[in-house]
Structure formats: C-alpha cells, structure tokens
C-alpha cells in the first residue's frame, strides 16, 4: 500500500493501470474511502486509462490530524499525487466534498489538467446547504459516525438501491464506520467553517468541464450546479436521470462510462462544452440528449424558460 508524504502526515493512495496512459484522478466525498472507486478503476482501466485514488487527509487509512485540517492541505496533497503521474493528460473528478477540492485544484493548478468533472458539487454554501451541513455535523457529534451514515443514506440514495438492503444496512455502513473516526470526520467538516465561495473564480477555469448532477439530488440541488455551468466557460451540465447525490455509488457503470467518454472526446478534440444542459441515458453508453429546448432545467416540473 503506497503512501505520499504531506509534512509529517502520510496519505494512502493507489495507482492502477498502464504507466503513461491518460490518467483519471478520483477524489472522495466526505464519508468515503478509496475502495469505493473499485468499479471505476476496473472500467476506466479497461478503456485504457490509468486511475489514481486516495484517502483524503483525515480519512480512511490516511493519517488523521488530531485537531485541524485546512482545505489548503487537500489541494497540496492532490498536487503531490498528480505530481506522481508524469506529464501525460490528466483528468480530475471528485464528488461532493471531493468535487469542491477538484474545483479548487482546477482554479489553482488548471494548467496541469486536461479536463475536469465535478460531481454533486457546489461552489458556494446556499442557506439550505449551510444549515444541512450544520445539522449533519451536529448529528455526527451527538450520534457518531453511524448516525451520520443513517442521515446520509436515505438523503443520498434511491429507494431502488436501499430497498434490497434495508435488512442489512449495518453491513453496508460497517466499513465506512470502521475506517472513519468521529474526530477526523468532524475536523473535515469543520474545515468548511471558513469556506469562501469559489463562484468569483470559476470563470478562470479554462478546462473542458463536464458537471454531473443527479436528477433528484437533494443535498446539492440543480441550482448549485447551475452556478458552475454559468461561470465555467467550456462546461456542460449533464443530468443523471433518477439519480440522487451519491450516484457514483449507485450508478457506477453509467458514471464511469460518462467519465471515459468525456476524456476520450477531449483528447480527440471533439468536446464542446458551450454551457449546454444535457441529459444522460439511463443505460451506460447511451446518447446524451439536450434538455428540451425552451424549458427551465432548474424546475422539477415542465415550465418554459422565462415564465414565472
């Protein structure tokens, strides 16, 4: 199990696939750990990519600072990891908390990337997200990691995914509970206390950018992704049908396929963001179709754009 150094701390990472191939770097969400990208690793390697995953500082098998984690630490760690990947094309993707780290990295080190895929992401804390974040932190403090998982699972996954697992949720939660410590998760969450909106800097991201948002994402709804679409010049927003916030867990084959196609399009010079709004197919490999002309993609009912 290889480790990177970040000061006195060690960061566990994994690098798979052929050296010299275009690389995908995948950044975990808050309560995740790198094994959760296993299906992506297999799918992307099969498409000729190299795949880098890691546990964030304070997460999984990486070291856990006792008291403070700064968001700058995550950018520095990511920079070290990307430094391990040589000079070939690098595509960066992250989900939720990890999407935010990916966004910041693209703002600060965009020249090192070939493409960016923020998923279930945000550039600023809306009042709803701020209050939900505070409530989740309180839940962690009062009820521990297990209670935080109890809150996140129904919020972020569909009935279809949950239903067959209802009588074995403890086993679903167990690995996340084992590898993530309360104090370390709390430190990660509290690294948001001085969060500054990224919106004013988004326009500096010149990279091809595919923004992925679940149709039913409750935690980071469409409006938060819309900020990214509007501000990042060469971006397109892709809506994942019937998906919630944690669609990377639930729809791994579909999402991995989208990631591979995006990178292949970029490398072939075919990607055109044009701030489009697209809808992904429900099946991996299906066509992306434009959101119906004239209708407001920020609404949950078919309302024509401009109508009140």
């Amino acid at each position: 199990m290889p480790f990177l150094s970040h000061g006195s701390y060690r960061i566990r990472y994994e690098l798979d696939g052929p050296a010299g191939a275009p690389a995908y770097v995948l950044v975990n969400g808050l309560t995740q750990y790198s094994e959760l990208w296993g299906a992506y690793r297999d799918a992307l390697i099969a498409r000729g990519f190299r795949v880098a995953t890691f546990d964030l500082l304070g997460q999984g098998i990486s070291d856990k600072p006792a008291l403070f984690i700064n968001q700058d630490d995550h950018i520095a760690v990511l920079h070290r990891l990307i430094g391990e990947l040589g000079t070939g094309p690098i595509f960066l993707s992250g989900i939720s908390f990890g999407g935010l780290i990916a966004l910041r990295y693209a703002i600060e080190h965009g020249e090192r990337l070939s493409g960016l895929v923020p998923m279930s992401c945000f550039a600023e804390l809306s009042p709803q997200l701020l209050l939900i974040g505070n409530a989740l932190r309180t839940g962690l403090i009062l009820g521990g990691t297990s209670y935080l998982q109890d809150l996140l699972l129904p919020m972020n996954l569909s009935d279809e995914w949950l239903k067959p697992l209802l009588d074995k949720l403890d086993s679903v939660k167990r690995q996340g509970w084992l590898v993530n410590d309360v104090y370390a998760l709390q430190n990660l969450m509290e690294s948001f206390l001085d969060f500054k909106p990224l919106t004013p800097q988004l326009s500096s991201i010149a990279l091809p950018t595919m923004i992925l948002n679940g149709e039913f994402d409750f935690l980071t709804p469409r409006a938060l992704h819309e900020t990214l679409r509007v501000e990042i010049p060469n971006s397109a927003l892709v809506i994942i049908p019937k998906a919630y916030h944690a669609f990377t867990l639930e729809k791994a084959a579909l999402t991995a396929n989208l990631l591979a196609r995006f990178a292949e399009d970029v490398m072939a010079g075919h990607w055109q963001g044009n701030k489009q709004v697209l809808i992904a197919s429900e099946d991996p490999g299906g066509a992306l179709v434009p959101f119906p002309e004239g209708y407001d993609h920020l609404r949950a009912i078919p309302v024509q754009r401009g109508a009140t």
């Binding site: 600072p65 006792a66 008291l67 403070f68 403090i141 521990g144 084992l178 410590d181 104090y183």
Partner: protein
C-alpha cells in the same frame, strides 16, 4: 493476526484473556482521567465550563465502574508491568513554550482526554458475529459512543480562542499524546493477538 477480537467463544463472547487485557487498559486510561478531572474540580463552581468538568469526572468514573462489572476478569500476570507503563504515560509532560503552570496542566488534561476519547475505539475491535447481548460487548460499544460525546469538550477547548496564541504548541502536544496513546493501545492489542488496523502502514 486479526484486526478484531477472537476467535470468539461458542456463545459469541470475547475470550476472557482478551477481555481482561483490554478492560485493564481502558480502566487505567479512563481511571487516570477520572482522577485528574476529580483533582481539577473545585468545591464550588465559579464558571459555567466547570459544569462540564463535573460531567467528565462522573462519565469517566462510570466507564471504570462499567468495565469492572461487565468484564470477565482472569488472572493475568503480565498486567503488572504493563499497567505500570500505562500509568507513567498518563502523567503530565512539559509543553513547549508554556510557562504558565495552571494553563499547562489544563492543556495536558485536555490533550490526554482527547487522545483517549478520539484515538481508542474499542467497539471497532468487535467482529460482526460477537454476541450483541453480552455485557462486555455492550460496554465497549457504550464506551466508544460516550467517548465521542466527551471528546467534544476537549475539541471546543483545544480549538477555542484562549489557545489561539499557543496553537502550534498545543497541536504538537496533542499529536504527541495521540502517538503515545496509540502506541500503548497497539502494544496492548498485539499482546493478545490483535493487529491495530492503523498500524498496518509500512
């Protein structure tokens, strides 16, 4: 070497030798905290935060009481020297740049409590097949849950505005405490055939 207790007994209980060694360590650590919180308690409270000190004192005492009653104790002749090394480790150590004795004492107690409450997760040693109705199993779950609640007082204090001028010294002292407590915990677990998960790093 497993990362969990076991092999379990036929009724799903943790073997008494493992119970004894782990409970002895926890009694030593939480007992030390109970004593130190007890010594820090004034007879009459002058500040609101002292109510939390009172709570910490009684919760630590409760953990010791719980372990005394929930554990299947067996004679363990290796415990003498081990317990002596544990007790020495809980004593205050100097904090760089901190000349105010009272302040240093408070930081010592907070860093020790943080390291014990955050760094020791006894419930995470429990395999899935452990008997959930066994008192020892229940006790360890309760201790881990209660530790994460108790920890909040240490987090508030150590991250609080009073210690901002000493942030580096406090962080260094805390990381040192974590490393020391983790080392002792790891050694204790290894002595009963359990490999501490975080210690699998190269």
């Amino acid at each position: 070497m497993s990362t969990f207790f076991g092999p379990l007994e036929a009724d799903g209980r943790v073997p008494p030798r493992q119970q004894t060694r782990v409970a002895a360590f926890l009694v030593s650590a939480h007992g030390a905290l109970a004593r130190q919180f007890g010594l820090a308690l004034p007879a009459r409270f002058e500040a609101a935060w002292q109510t939390e000190l009172n709570a910490q004192f009684y919760r630590e005492s409760e953990i010791v009481s719980l372990l005394m009653r929930a554990t299947i104790w067996i004679p363990d002749f290796a415990l003498g020297p081990m317990a002596a090394s544990w007790e020495m480790a809980w004593l205050p150590t100097p904090i760089d740049g901190m000349t105010d004795h009272a302040h240093a004492q408070t930081i010592h107690l907070a860093t020790l409590a943080h390291a014990v409450h955050a760094g020791i997760r006894p419930a995470a040693l429990m395999p899935t097949e452990a008997n959930a109705n066994d008192p020892f199993v229940m006790a360890l779950r309760r201790i881990e849950f209660e530790s994460s609640r108790l920890l909040q007082a240490q987090i508030l204090y150590l991250k609080g505005p009073d210690l901002v001028p000493f942030r580096d010294a406090v962080s260094t002292a805390l990381e040192r405490r974590h490393a020391e407590v983790r080392r002792l915990w790891t050694e204790t677990l290894e002595s009963i055939g359990i490999s501490f998960a975080s210690d699998t790093k190269p």
